[in-house]
Symmetry: C2
């Protein structure tokens, strides 16, 4: 595991306020790591609503399947997250491990297994010894604190170089509600792929179906707009919890009273998604790709992701090369409607290509100076319609190769 903090990390870690109805505790269960916490128990007061989105992988982890099966219930009493072992591609053993983990938590809390949610991140294909949670579960259940957000964010890290936390407030009617979120990102535990986990809690009172609608909508413009390398984990899990301690429940996602909440919720998800990109393996530059003028928003996002996932675009940015030819290539390969002779491309404010050819005023020195920035924006104007999208990624450096080509330890 790398110990150097990403140069793109925020200058400070935000202190998150408590969320009424959520208590958290962490422990060292010794799943894989020594000398650090690797298990998180979050306990929610009865009546807490839950919503979730998961990896689209056809080969999901056992905890992803566990959560999917219990999401219809709409309520949650506890979340158990471990790092060090993803419990993915573990067959029947993996299903047994999820069941045992849920049993242990349910017993300690005196609730039903059906209200326990699970997430795991770490080594793939190795059996998860869930019995290791036994000796710590009672204490985790007893020790939970409302303000333990940073400890929670640290316990779920794998090769993340910094903990990822964000908070927002919003008005619902006369009440102020709080939204807290944590995430872990593109870390690597040999022999494993990156896993994105994120957990969002609010003291707002929102019915499960409404919370699911808010989450599913916001994720399209936040976590689904971030990419490190185009690879999709077996374990990606994003759960949202509404404890309902602050205000009266809102049943319907289209209730105008939720408008401010929705905006704050999406903004928080965007911040967390950007933090994931800022901690991409080997990242030295944070990259925003903006596409406008596409035939639809969906088309714009496909083109933006084609640019953001292109190894050639990402290596050019690592090399501080204003290589717009590769951006043209990535637009062309996306397979979406595009007219070469209408394309305009900018790096930051520098227009490098216009109407299908190099900008007549292109100045290599100006463009090269811009590329030395730590934050780079690549903007493409397609000139076809009103569809637009914005995605975030990082550059592709030797560091990515070094991290991912390491032998398993």
């Amino acid at each position: 595991m790398s110990t150097a903090v990403s140069p793109l990390a925020p200058k400070s870690i935000p202190a998150l306020p408590p969320i009424a109805g959520v208590r958290m505790a962490t422990a060292e269960a010794g799943i894989r790591y020594a000398g650090r916490t690797d298990v998180l128990l979050a306990v929610f007061e009865p009546g807490t609503a839950v919503a979730g989105v998961f990896t689209r992988s056809r080969c999901p982890s056992a905890p992803v399947e566990w959560c999917r099966e219990r999401l219809a219930g709409g309520s949650i009493r506890a979340l158990v997250v471990n790092s060090g072992n993803a419990n993915a591609f573990t067959g029947a053993t993996g299903r047994q491990a999820t069941k045992l983990t849920a049993e242990l938590a349910a017993r300690s809390l005196g609730c039903s297994e059906s209200e326990i949610f699970l997430a795991s991140t770490g080594v793939i294909g190795e059996p998860l010894d869930a019995s290791k949670f036994g000796p710590v579960m009672d204490r985790l259940a007893a020790d939970g604190e409302e303000g333990a957000w940073e400890a929670a964010a640290r316990a779920i890290m794998t090769t993340d170089t910094f903990p990822k936390l964000a908070t927002r407030t919003a008005r619902i009617g006369d009440a102020t509600v709080t939204i807290n979120g944590i995430a872990k990102g593109a870390g690597m535990i040999a022999p494993d792929m990156a896993t994105m986990l994120s957990f969002i809690a609010t003291d707002a009172a929102i019915a499960p179906t409404a919370l699911q609608a808010v989450l599913s909508d916001a994720v399209e413009r936040s976590f689904n707009c971030v990419t490190i390398d185009g690879d999709t984990s077996t374990s990606d899990t994003l759960l949202a919890f509404a404890t309902g301690k602050a205000v009266n429940e809102i049943e319907n996602a289209s209730d105008p009273a939720l408008d401010g909440f929705k905006a704050a919720f999406e903004d928080l998800l965007i911040e967390l998604a950007q933090l994931v990109a800022r901690d991409g393996e080997g990242a030295r530059k944070f990259v925003t790709v903006e596409v406008e003028g596409a035939e639809s928003d969906l088309s714009a996002r496909k083109i933006a992701l084609s640019i953001a996932n292109s190894p050639l675009v990402k290596t050019a940015i690592a090399g501080e090369d204003a290589n717009w030819g590769r951006v043209v290539m990535a637009v062309g390969k996306a397979g979406e409607p595009a007219d070469r002779d209408l394309l305009t491309i900018r790096f930051g404010d520098v227009r490098v290509a216009h109407l299908g050819a190099r900008d007549p005023d292109y100045d290599e020195a100006v463009a090269s100076a811009y590329m030395k920035n730590e934050e780079i924006t690549v903007a493409v104007e397609l000139g076809l319609g009103t569809g637009k999208a914005r995605v975030w990624t990082c550059d592709l450096t030797e560091g990515y190769i070094a991290i991912n080509a390491d032998y398993r330890s």
Copy 2:
């Protein structure tokens, strides 16, 4: 440009026999490089059939558009290829450059522009000064030789580290025909992306529509099964020529007399496609990905390409790590039908995962020993149907980053 020859290069360059009806010559037009040939003129006897397949990029180069427009004619008198400038994303200037190049060749040869085909590879977005072909064109037209295949393969190289040539013979009825091919691959000229060009000539007599059918079919199992980094050039061009000097013409691609020819043609394309992967930027290992048991051949190819394009799989292979977890990930992200609990994965003959979990007999030492080979096979059995596919790629190393993150010179 790199000068070290890829460790995966073949031990020797094959000597190609002449193809009756094809004469080739090369020259130094000074497009970009100094001290090397950068233009190829191939002249075909009247009546030569032509077929072609091109990049699927929505932003194709000017020569690609030129060739597409002329392919319906079915006949070719000359092919002009230059390296050093791709004539891509060059707007109206680019179209003028293609027209001037064709005019110069047509004048020297006394034929129609409509029978001149063009290909360019190199810098993108810079105007191609086609007038530089003027001083050399008459000599190229006069000097053509039937056996100049290696010189031709060298003139079209960019950062290829070795010329790529292959030859086959086949029986058509009582006659023996020859098929020669050259290709250039994943080379890089800052600020450009890789371009794949390949040209295949035979003395067989095959009508243009039949030749096109043979080509389009064979390309699916050869060049469309090779990937370096998933990025698609603006300029990919594969043209096939049949001079008809050896035998009577075959009109129909389904004529059984063509069976042997088709097999030899596809085999030659596979060899060239593999040579391209062997010269992938920074490549140290040649990788074959085999997928069986998919619901269809198309589904199998999508899964195979998902594996072959995964940066995490490719870096693991670079690190000689038998990281089957990343193969599971790549299967899962392909979006094709797959059942995790039926998956079997092998590295070479080493079964590492079976029926959705680590193989009970898995031996890390045996798997690690296999991964030290220069040629690696990753085989996935999905257990769903009879669909299968095989694709070729290379590993992803620091060398790829170093080559592609270089500043433009």
